[in-house]
């Protein structure tokens, strides 16, 4: 049987790579450029699907099930959307966007401003959710989380693997792509909450089975429930994709966040940093120049010497020894334990 493959089938005969010769043309794995919206279609309540093609007319890079693209908004912010059209189609990409009023505004902008014939700036594709070979798959989709699962289902089906899908949502009218899934008959269980209540995960997932992989995408509550159910499954059996990346280190309780006083000794000024604002942003707002890049506590660009005060380290970069020394901090994410810091800025 042909296994579904998470990698591009770009393999030369093995051992033919002559030592010392550079490999030939590399696969262009990433595209960055402008795409034209060929079609915009309402596919469910608050969900539009967009069909995209490179504005230059060139073919788009190949991708594999689970891949997503970045849509670059006019503000420069990016939003990730799973590709959900046919895998082999290099002329068009399809994404589906749910309008999220509580989101950060990206989906709203797309809903309000993107029209047929319009253009979008995109990057990608990238795949953090690859479909691995297996003889049996269980797919669990919640709401707009169905999107990465559609090409996976097509791939599993083409590979003659055994598979079934449990698809949940608030109401039938909120669930996208139902017509496309109808053709699969009994393999697809559509379970809108207003008709069926909570998803019967236990009944669908059953007992751990070494030949089965579970793929789940949807809201956090659904993923948490599936994770809890699969806790005893073999490592690697459960594969999930959350809509938003979890923060590096979040304080356990945002409501307990206190404002802190930060004295910038070299500048002779003190700033108050309210909850929800980073020390970095407060320093920048005070007009004090400071280097920064990732703003996630990884890169170390904003590392700053601490002269007084106890640091609440929330970064990923510093070693335990460096944290314990309490003489440096990454001001993009870390804060103060005692409510006051003195920085060498």
């Amino acid at each position: 049987m042909t296994s579904p493959s998470a990698t591009a089938p770009d393999t030369r005969p093995l051992g033919s790579a002559a030592a010392g010769t550079p490999s030939g043309t590399r696969r262009g794995t990433e595209f960055e450029g402008t795409v034209t919206v060929l079609a915009r279609q309402a596919v469910a309540d608050d969900v539009v699907s967009l069909e995209l093609a490179a504005s230059s007319g060139e073919p788009l890079p190949v991708w594999q099930p689970g891949a997503h693209i970045d849509v670059v908004l006019p503000t420069g912010a990016t939003r990730q959307y799973s590709l959900c059209g046919p895998v082999g189609d290099t002329a068009h990409w399809r994404v589906a966007v749910l309008r999220e009023p509580d989101g950060r505004g990206g989906s709203q902008w797309i809903h309000d401003h993107v029209e047929e014939g319009g253009e979008l700036r995109v990057r990608g594709p990238r795949n953090n959710f690859p479909l691995r070979p297996a003889t049996r798959y269980l797919f669990v989709g919640g709401g707009i989380g169905i999107t990465p699962l559609l090409p996976m289902i097509a791939e599993a089906d083409a590979a003659m693997a055994e598979w079934s899908l449990l698809y949940g949502g608030r109401t039938r009218s909120s669930m996208a792509f139902l017509p496309e899934l109808e053709g699969h008959g009994e393999r697809v269980a559509v379970r809108p909450q207003d008709e069926h209540g909570l998803l019967d995960l236990a009944g669908f997932l059953g007992d751990p089975d070494p030949s089965t992989l579970v793929y789940c995408c949807g809201p956090a509550g659904l993923i948490d429930a599936v994770e809890a159910h699969c806790a005893d499954w073999p490592t690697g059996a459960l594969n999930i994709e959350r809509f938003a990346a979890a923060a590096v280190r979040q304080p356990a309780d945002d409501t307990a966040e206190q404002p802190i006083e930060v004295e910038l000794r070299a500048s002779g000024t003190t700033v108050t940093v309210p909850p929800g604002l980073s020390v970095l942003k407060a320093v920048e707002q005070a007009g004090v120049p400071v280097l920064s890049s990732c703003e996630e506590g990884i890169c170390g660009s904003c590392e700053t010497s601490v002269l007084e005060g106890e640091v609440d380290h929330r970064d990923s970069l510093l070693t335990e020894d460096e944290r314990a020394a309490n003489d440096t901090m990454l001001i993009c994410v870390s804060r103060a334990r005692g409510g006051r810091l003195v920085l060498d800025l």
């Binding site: 790579a17 030592a19 490592t235 660009s301 990923s316 970069l317």
Partner: protein, 352 residues
């Protein structure tokens, strides 16, 4: 273009044992020209490749059967301890001696300490016993690289690049998609990536005769400033340790002259150790993968060397081990520069 400053108080792989014999071999290490050779009793020796007289390279001289090294410009002669034993021009011996470097020869590798000899500490070397273990077999060599040592270090500490740069051999989507755990022990940086139930990349499919799904482990250890050891385990999914195929790759990232680096490698395995065909295949693949890296790093070097600066690099979570490696080297360099301000390193005779 700025040249990188290199940590010198640390062990670097200076040469493989089979590279050094009763001839004079020059190799630049951390911007120091080094002349390697063996004395009649086979002891390996390394001296600064500059004659104390007029700085002519001693490696262009010759070695007598009794181990005396002669500079072939004006005839200065040096004994096995690097002390000048005479010149043809006069009866008196010039007061001159060569700078000799601390060396450790172990398991077919020659390690060199280019900095302060007082600080040379053998306990800082990684375990290399697998290079001579009868249950293991390995191939080794060295590849020239026209790129600064830090770029090679970051290449090895962030293996997500395998997905994109080595898709026909050792990389597939699973590498980039699997996060790493990073550990730090003093200056040492380690990472581990556990890929479970993945598709076997072509090299491992062929090397181990495995069919997917497989478990693939990568455990890397960086011994700053210039040694990296990767422990690899590949096994059919669901197999218990110690079943499975084990490989190790040792990389000696030795800064040479300017922004050039000696890319030393040794690739070992603990299975089918008598299979010559497999050894040949693995060696070819290793060199092909390294060539892809060399091409990439040399292209990257040009961009770093010409970068006007002023733009912060973007970094992501998978950069964590590389960023920590970078910091570990930067700290060593800062320590060294502070120590140099306190006392100039004497460039005199060193006793090993």
């Amino acid at each position: 273009m700025t040249l990188t400053q290199h940590v010198r108080n640390g062990w670097y792989l200076g040469a493989w044992s089979d590279e050094i014999g009763r001839t004079l071999k020059q190799r630049w290490i951390t911007d120091i020209p080094v002349c390697f050779y063996r004395l009649p009793d086979q002891t390996v020796t390394a001296v600064e490749d500059r004659c104390p007289h007029r700085k002519y390279p001693l490696s262009l001289g010759h070695l007598d059967d009794d181990g005396t090294l002669q500079c072939d410009y004006h005839g200065y002669r040096f004994d096995g301890q690097g002390v000048c034993v005479g010149v043809a021009e006069q009866a008196d011996r010039p007061k001159a001696a060569l700078r000799r470097f601390p060396l450790v020869e172990r398991d077919g590798a020659i390690w060199i300490w280019p900095g302060d000899p007082e600080l040379a500490d053998e306990s800082l070397l990684p375990d290399t016993s697998w290079l001579t273990d009868p249950n293991w077999t390995h191939v080794h060599g060295v590849v020239p690289l026209k790129a600064r040592h830090m770029l090679l270090l970051e290449n090895l500490l962030d293996l997500t690049h395998e997905t994109f740069l080595h898709p026909t051999s050792i990389g597939n989507a699973a590498v980039a998609a699997t996060p790493i755990d990073v550990t730090v022990d003093g200056d040492r940086v380690g990472f581990s990536r556990r890929m479970i139930g993945i598709e076997a990349p072509p090299f491992y499919e062929k090397s181990c005769g495995l069919t997917s799904p497989v478990d693939r482990w990568q455990d890397g250890d960086f011994y700053p400033p210039g040694i990296f050891v990767l422990n690899i385990r590949v096994a059919a999914t669901g197999t218990e340790e110690p079943d499975g195929f084990h490989m190790k790759v040792l990389y000696g990232m030795t800064p040479g002259r300017g922004n050039e680096t000696h890319d030393f490698y040794a690739l070992g395995r603990d299975y089918l150790i008598d299979d010559q065909e497999l050894t040949k295949f693995q060696h070819e693949q290793q060199l092909a993968v390294m060539q892809e890296d060399v091409d990439a790093l040399e292209a990257q070097e040009i961009m770093y060397a010409t970068d006007p600066g002023g733009t912060a690099e973007s970094s992501i979570k998978s950069d964590l081990a590389a960023l920590r490696g970078r910091r570990a080297v930067a700290k060593m360099l800062a320590r060294e520069q502070r120590a140099q301000q306190d006392a100039r390193i004497p460039h005199s005779r060193a006793s090993v």
